[in-house]
Structures are given as C-alpha cells and as structure tokens.
C-alpha cells in the first residue's frame, strides 16, 4: 500500500510540475513585456538586467497614448469589430431562421456549398475583394472590413442549428393562427428566444474581427485607417532587430512595441471578464460535441 501511495504522489507531483512549467511559458512574455514597458530605453540594453525596473517610467505609455496613432487604431478596431458583429448577427439570424424553418428548392445544396466554403483559404478571396472594393471606391473604409463578415458561413451554420434547437415550431404556428405577420413572428417571438445565441455569435465575430490581420492590412492603405494589428505590425520592422541601444525615433518605436501589445488586449480582457462563459463557449463554436 505504502508503495502505491508513493507512486501516486510522484505522479501527482509530475502533473503539477507540468502545469507550472506551462504557466511559466505562458506568463513569461507577458511579465517581461510589462517590465520592459516601465523601463527607460537605456535599461533595455544594460548588461545587468533585472525583471524589476531600476528607474520605472511611464514615458512609453505617454508616447503610446499621446505621440502615436495607437488610440486612433484602437478606435478603428473597435468600430470595425462592432460593425462586423452587428452586421453578422442581423444577417445570420435572419438567414438562419429561413434555413431552419422554411422549405425551398435547393436549400440543402445551398447550405452544403456555404459549409464547404470553410475549407477555402481567405487568400483566394482577398485578391478579388481588393479589386472589387477598389472598383466600388471602398478601399480604406470601414465597410471594406465589415461587409465580408456578413457572408461568413460559420455564422449561418451556428444560427441555423441554434434556432432549430431553441425555437419550437408550435409557438410560431400559434402566433400565425393569431394573425401575426411573418416579420413580427421573427422579431417579436424568435428574436427574444435566441438572444443568448446571438450574444455568443456577437462575441465570436467581435473577437475575430478585432484580431484580424491579413485583409485589414491590404484594405487599409493610410495610417489613420489602420486597425491595431496592422499598425502595430509596423513597429518591429521600423525599429529593426538591432542589438545596440537605439536612439531618437527608433527608441520611441521600441517603447511603443513593448507597451502597445499589452494595451491592445484590454478590450478582449474586458469582454472575457464580462462574458466569461460565452467567450469560452464561443471558442468551441463549430467543434463536434463529445
């Protein structure tokens, strides 16, 4: 018996060591960045380094908020993410309702086409999008980033399944017998029932649009229209990977590159804290159950 217990405890110890090792891996870059973000540039490159800053300073945060386009990019990202989420929930819940309860020719075929499009890499679509939006004069506008989300198939799929499983057709029939029009059936009866599903989808799309990089990098051509990822991605390139202590403008960009990423996750952090369950559930959206 003693032997078994010892064996068990060593196993448990190894499990905890593994978990703690992964905690260190996860947190080290965040803590190091936090430490760098309050160090003067000169301390970045000192030979005697410590995690704890010797002369803490807020100059990088000051530069980030008042001497760079960061806040503008944050605003752009929030507008794009909010707009994308709003458009997607309206379009997808309406289409999801049609796919859930209406019978029409080619329905399953259309649905399968929409589903299989998940396999198509965005790169195939982005060249035509660029040419199309340019023709429409929509390059460098918020609409260029918002509209493609309205065509997203996982949203349609999610809403169809959600409406099917949460709305009982009998309720709708009852309302129709009472003389309600189709639109009021949808807006007055279906919508209130599917609010939790809509909220989950909104959080998922908001997060994805907020964090998206490739298409925004192509569609947004001027620095005042950049989203956060597009703008921030420029910093290491312009700061260079040099090992000597930088000076002047390069030094300022170094400071931005260590503060920006930390501040940029604040909206996601707030979303996570407020809607923890929906946020986590949204991550598994689309995964097979069990």
């Amino acid at each position: 018996m003693k032997h078994v217990d010892l064996h068990k405890n060593i196993g448990l110890l190894l499990c905890y060591l593994f978990l703690i090792g992964f905690v260190i891996y996860t947190l080290t870059p965040v803590i190091w960045l936090g430490s760098l973000s309050i160090k003067p540039i000169s301390e970045f490159f000192q030979t005697s380094k410590s995690f704890i800053p010797l002369n803490p300073t807020l100059e990088h945060y000051y530069n980030l908020f008042f001497k760079s386009d960061f806040l503008r990019w944050m605003l752009n990202s929030l507008i794009v993410a909010g707009g994308s989420a709003a458009l997607t929930i309206v379009v997808a819940s309406m289409a999801g309702y049609a796919f859930a309860f209406y019978k029409f020719r080619g329905k399953e075929t259309l649905f399968m086409i929409a589903l299989s499009s998940v396999m198509v890499p965005a790169y195939v679509l982005i060249i035509p999008w660029f040419l199309m939006f340019r023709t429409l004069g929509l390059i460098n506008t918020y609409l260029a980033l918002i509209l493609p989300w309205g065509a997203s198939m996982f949203s349609l799929f999610f809403m169809r399944v959600y409406i099917r499983s949460s709305v009982h057709p009998e309720i709708l029939e009852a309302a129709r017998v009472d003389g309600a029009s189709e639109r009021s059936v949808f807006f007055r009866i279906v919508m209130p029932i599917i609010v939790p599903g809509i909220a989950t989808l909104a959080i998922v799309v908001f997060t994805m649009a907020f964090n998206d990089y490739f298409w925004p990098m192509i569609a947004m051509r001027s620095p005042d229209m950049y989203t956060l990822p597009v703008g921030m991605a420029q910093w290491p390139i312009s700061a260079g990977g040099g090992s000597m202590g930088p000076t002047g403008a390069a030094a300022i960009r170094w400071g931005l590159a260590v503060t920006g990423p930390l501040v940029s996750i604040i909206p996601m952090l707030i979303l996570f804290i407020l809607f923890r369950d929906k946020f986590t559930k949204g991550l598994t959206l689309g995964a097979p159950k069990g």
Binding site: C15, V91, Y102, Y213, F214, A233, S264
Partner: protein
C-alpha cells in the same frame, strides 16, 4: 406554412444571400478566372492559359513556402496538440487543485491577436536583451541569434504559435471531456489504472474533437502569415527559413501587383488544403465509418 411564402423567404434570406453571392461565390469565380490571366496593373489583360500554374511549379520560393509550412504541420502541430491534450486531461482530473486559475492563465494567449502575440515574443528572442539569452548566459551557456539562424528562427516561430494556440485547443478538448459521462470513468477506475483509462476511454471518445482540431491546424499552418512576417522581418531574417506560401502570395500579389499569378498561388493553396484534409481524414478511416 406561412402565407406569401416567397416574399417572406426573400426578406429573410436576401441580405445574407447577396453578400454570400458577391463576396464568396462571385469572388471565388473571379479569382479562378484571374488565375488564368496575366493581370497586373499597366499591362493589357490577356488569357494566358495555364502559364501561371506552370510558373508556380517552377517557383523555388513557392516550394520553399510549402517546405516551411510542412515543418510546422509535422513538428509543431503534433507537439501543440499533445500539450493541449495533456493539459485538458490534467485540468479535468479530480486530483488536481486550482483548475480555475490554471485554466484562466492558459486562456490569456487566446485573447491576443496574432500580431500582438508575436510582438509579445519579440523581446524574448533578442540577442542581447532577450529573456531566453539572459537565462542561457546566466547558467553559463552561449546566447543564440534566435531570429537570424534558419533552424532557430523556425523554433522561434513554433514557440509563438504554440503559445498562441495551445490554450485554444485545450478549451476545445476540455469541452469534449466534459461531455464524457462520469459513470464511464468511475466504472473504468475500478479495474483499470489511470493511464489505461485515458488510453481506452478518454482518447477514443475525444477522437472527433481531436480530428476537428487537427484539421483546423492543417488549414491554419498552410495559411501561416502574421507570425513569420512580423517576427522574422517579413520571413527573410534567416534566409528563407520562415518564408511561407502566404508571404510569397502577398509579395507577388500586393507588392509586385501580379494579381493573376497570385490568384494561381491562392488556388493551389486551396487545393492543397482540401486534398490534405481529405487525405488525413481518409487515413483515419473517417469516411469508411460513415461519420
């Protein structure tokens, strides 16, 4: 069924349908047509047949790109999936305490954008100021030029991708584990060890989710762009060791403006994604069981 069926149907369906037809169906056909032309600004548009595809097969940088994403696929994806599985199994075990804290910490990277995640790791790899070299020199080992050496640059990219996505996969596996009935474990625990339980109960029941996550990773690796682009100077800080297919496509299409050739690269990527996934699922006997 409701009255005025067609009119109502169109009301609900049309907004999505218009966007889908325009931004997906039309765009997809448009890029297919483009891939058979020489389209680039300031040149007369001509159909050039399969020229772009022939060029693609002889383009060393495209093949280099496929080599880079294959190393991610065959080395990084298995490591990450394994780590995520172990974490998920540990965090669903009744023996481990502090699960909520661990789970919350592991979910932090999921909140970052790919660009923010990459920038967070950027100061870790620095030659004279990076944490990794600080630790190495601290214990008397030499520091490395992480982003300039071909092998180490790849290792750096793996490190960032694993950091960003392990928590995501862990959450998916955890959701799957919660769906496994408790009684099954209790019954198994009576006459089998813990590891046997994992092997014979947990893994088989998790199979659909593991397959889903690996398919997702296959498609994701193939499209790898942000991490190497931002971390390794547009994929070129260590020769072409981290120069992916997507970076090639970006340079051809949006730097050089050769939309025709870039579309061909995009379509070839799509083809590889579909065939790769199909092959992977077939190897697993996914189709034979009719699931």
């Amino acid at each position: 069924m409701p009255k005025n069926e067609t009119k109502n149907l169109l009301f609900f369906l049309l907004p999505y349908l218009i966007l889908f037809l325009l931004l997906f169906a039309f765009a997809l056909s448009y890029s297919l047509i483009l891939s058979f032309t020489n389209m680039s600004p300031g040149r007369p548009l001509e159909f050039t047949g399969a020229t772009n595809y022939a060029r693609l097969f002889g383009d060393p940088l495209v093949w280099n790109g496929f080599k880079v994403v294959s190393t991610v696929l065959f080395i990084q994806v298995p490591i990450m999936t394994g780590l995520a599985l172990i974490l998920a199994i540990l965090l669903s075990s009744p023996l481990i305490r502090g699960k909520t804290i661990f789970r919350t910490i592991f979910i932090i990277p999921v909140m970052t954008s790919l660009v923010a995640a990459t920038l967070m790791w950027y100061p870790m790899f620095g030659e004279n100021y990076g944490v990794i070299n600080l630790v190495l020199t601290g214990i008397g080992l030499p520091g490395f030029k992480w982003l300039l050496d071909p092998t180490l640059a790849l290792v750096s990219i793996f490190t960032v991708i694993t950091w960003r996505w392990t928590g995501y996969n862990m959450i998916m596996f955890l959701a799957g584990l919660q769906a496994i009935p408790r009684e099954l474990y209790d019954a198994a625990a009576l006459d089998a060890g813990r590891l046997q339980t994992v092997r014979h109960i947990t893994l088989p029941l998790l199979k659909p989710i593991i397959i889903f996550s690996v398919v997702f990773s296959i498609i994701g690796s193939l499209q790898l762009f942000a991490e190497p682009y931002v971390l390794t100077g547009q994929g070129t800080s260590a020769g072409f060791a981290t120069y992916t297919v997507a970076i090639r496509l970006y340079n051809i299409g949006f730097i050089q403006g050769q939309f025709g050739y870039a579309s061909a690269i995009g379509w070839f990527m799509a083809l590889v994604a579909v065939c790769g996934t199909f092959f992977f699922l077939k190897r697993l006997g996914f189709f034979a069981r009719g699931e």
